[in-house]
Amino acid sequence: MLKIIGYVIKDLLRNRWTLFYFLFYLLVGFAILIFSGDFSKSMVSFLQIILILTPLIGTLFGVMYYYNSRDFIELLLAQPIRRRDVFIGQWLGVSISLGTSLVLGLGIPFLWYFAQYEVAGDQFVLLLLLGFALGTIFTGLSMAVSVSTDNKIRGFGYALVLWLLMAVVYDGFLLLALIAFRDYPLEKFALIATMFNPIDLARITILLKLDISALMGYTGAVFREFLGSTLGMITASFVLMLWVLLPFALITFIAKKRDF
């Protein structure tokens, strides 16, 4: 499996996709830090990138890379290698190279900024970690989708719908639910509901670290009490782990079942 991961990373480096994303994040990172002036403001901008763009890039790239390397995958499948290793290797290879572009692309501007001004680094590290996790999750989910269908258009479509569901529609339903059951105490419900969406989970975790959390009133206090506690942190990390394991299980399952 390691060999496959290594090969994918090398391949991505060679056809310059990793470099492209790295440069993209680098540009965005510098632009945000230079133009927004205030660091807490730039943190919010970074948050938007991590929450929307990183999953989207992961989704698109997962599908694209899978369909582009169909021939190679078929070749590998003919070899005496476990199917799981082939697909998981592909996934991890793509995730690691995308994640590295993200971490370096945003990390370098931050280090440059950090060298000039005294700012809290831990929030940013958390942001990058969550970005890495979100990228990995969405690459995996989109690969699971594309492994299940040979039709490229359908694969792209499903993967995009999945992203849309998580990034946008889910919040819509959450909002509807909050409005529908407004007469009940909803903090616990909201807390649990955010756990079921990695994007929301990441968003809340970061928001609570930013000083903006003071705006969140009683609900925010409930969240902070939970996520601030050891149990909460363990639960949140555990849920995020589950989210990473989900594509793993899906890919393994689909790959085993499917006739190539």
Binding site: D171, L175, R182, L215, G217
Partner: protein, 413 residues
């Protein structure tokens, strides 16, 4: 005749010196010796004394060099009782004890008008300067701190400068920190609070109750537990103050409750959870204020009539205006809103479409507080945009008909 006057004057007012090897060794002794019009000159040193009671008028108590009065956690340091025209200057007061039954202060002035307190440093105290039923006083250039950290329980520290039923006061250029309320006014009218720096206080930087016709200007209120509260008062002028970093769950830059006929002008509100919280306040003019990077810039809770916002700059606030209840003739006109995305085709400096400062999300958070979990969610941003284009839910009557295209430059004065 003239000689007679000079002689009576000189014979009547004497200077009593206090030092460790003078004839008079304690301040208490000096106070007992003092007659009306005398000066008590305290020489440099540390005086372990408390409960110094001044009862004669026109006495000047002045420190020369570094004079420390250490109350040793026994009692109040200096009490002025029924003695008008007293001056207290250039001393340091320390270690006034906490009491749960009495308001023990470093300097307590009772029934004594025209007092002057200048350059007094107060450290480790329960209450700082406590003025009761004494008109026309001046408190200037004092530094007051409870000496304890901000983490202590609110009830165990007192107020920095506390005035009760004392009109015509001038509170000027004082530094107050780590107290319960920095400056507290209750039944204090026709007074001026100017150039003070009140920061890191446990509750309010400045707290007004039932105090009419007062002015406060050029003060800085920074990082106080709950900001500044002005309650149940009329005719207050608030000019050129800075309210900053009053940040926390229950923190306000400026909290207005039951305020009538007041003017708020040339103030800067930066980085407060809620910059201006308005509750039951009527006929207030907000003119040429800068509201920058606050959580909520303006929060109307209800029962407020005829508030008028004119030529203010709203920049980078998470929520510009939150609004509960009916419009009640509260108006916004010719303000600058950095979130305004309209256009100005006729180039008259005003946007051609009105700006609605209450966006959908603000409205929802007001109605259902739990929806705050969707703060910064992409979906909410899309909704807000849609609502801006076609308002359905948000109060349509709260709007600025002539939003400015450029940041408003304050006029002079």
């Amino acid at each position: 005749m003239l000689l007679y006057f000079v002689m009576t004057l000189s014979s009547h007012s004497k200077t009593i010196e206090v030092c460790s090897d003078c004839e008079v060794r304690s301040i208490k002794q000096a106070v007992d010796l003092a007659d009306s019009g005398d000066t008590i000159m305290i020489q440099e040193g540390r005086y372990q004394e408390s409960n110094i009671i001044l009862k004669v008028p026109r006495v000047v108590l002045i420190g020369k060099g570094k004079v420390i009065i250490d109350a040793n956690k026994e009692n109040q340091a200096i009490i002025v009782f029924r003695a008008p025209n007293v001056v207290i200057k250039n001393i340091v007061i320390k270690n006034v004890p906490f009491s749960s039954t009495e308001e023990l202060a470093a300097i307590n002035i009772l029934y004594s008008s025209r007092y002057t307190i200048e350059n007094v440093v107060i450290d480790s105290t329960f209450f700082g300067i406590l003025i009761e039923q004494s008109d026309s006083g001046v408190i200037r250039g004092c530094t007051i701190s409870s000496g304890s950290s901000i983490d202590v329980y609110e009830a165990t520290i007192g107020n920095g400068i506390h005035l009760w039923k004392s009109n015509y006061a001038l509170i000027e250029n004082n530094d107050i920190t780590n107290m319960r309320d920095g400056i507290y006014f209750e039944f204090v009218s026709n007074s001026v609070i100017r150039g003070n720096y009140s920061y890191g206080n446990k509750r309010y930087g400045l707290h007004f109750m039932f105090s009419n016709d007062d002015v406060y200007e050029n003060n800085r209120f920074e990082g106080n537990g709950a900001g500044v509260a002005v309650m149940f008062s009329k005719n207050i002028s608030m000019h050129s103050n800075v309210f900053s970093n009053n940040w926390g769950m229950n923190s306000y830059g400026l909290l207005l409750k039951e305020i009538y006929d007041s003017e708020i002008k040339h103030n800067v509100f930066v980085h407060n959870t809620t910059a201006i919280h308005i509750e039951g306040s009527t006929r207030i003019i907000y003119e040429e204020n800068d509201l920058i990077e606050n959580g909520w810039a303006v929060n109307f809770i209800g029962g407020s009539y005829d508030n008028f916002f004119y030529h203010n700059n709203f920049m980078g606030n998470t929520f510009d205006v939150a609004y509960f209840g009916r419009v009640n003739n509260n108006r916004f006109e010719e303000n600058y809103w950095n979130k305004y995305t309209g256009y100005d085709l006729d180039r008259d400096g005003f946007g051609d479409v009105p700006y609605r400062p209450v966006d959908l999300f603000t409205y929802m958070v007001n109605e259902i507080p739990e929806t705050i979990v969707l703060l910064r969610s992409f979906f909410v941003q899309i909704l807000n945009f849609a609502e801006q284009v076609v308002p359905v839910l948000t109060p349509a009557d709260i709007y600025d008909p002539k939003p400015l295209m450029q940041k408003w430059k304050w006029s002079d004065s």
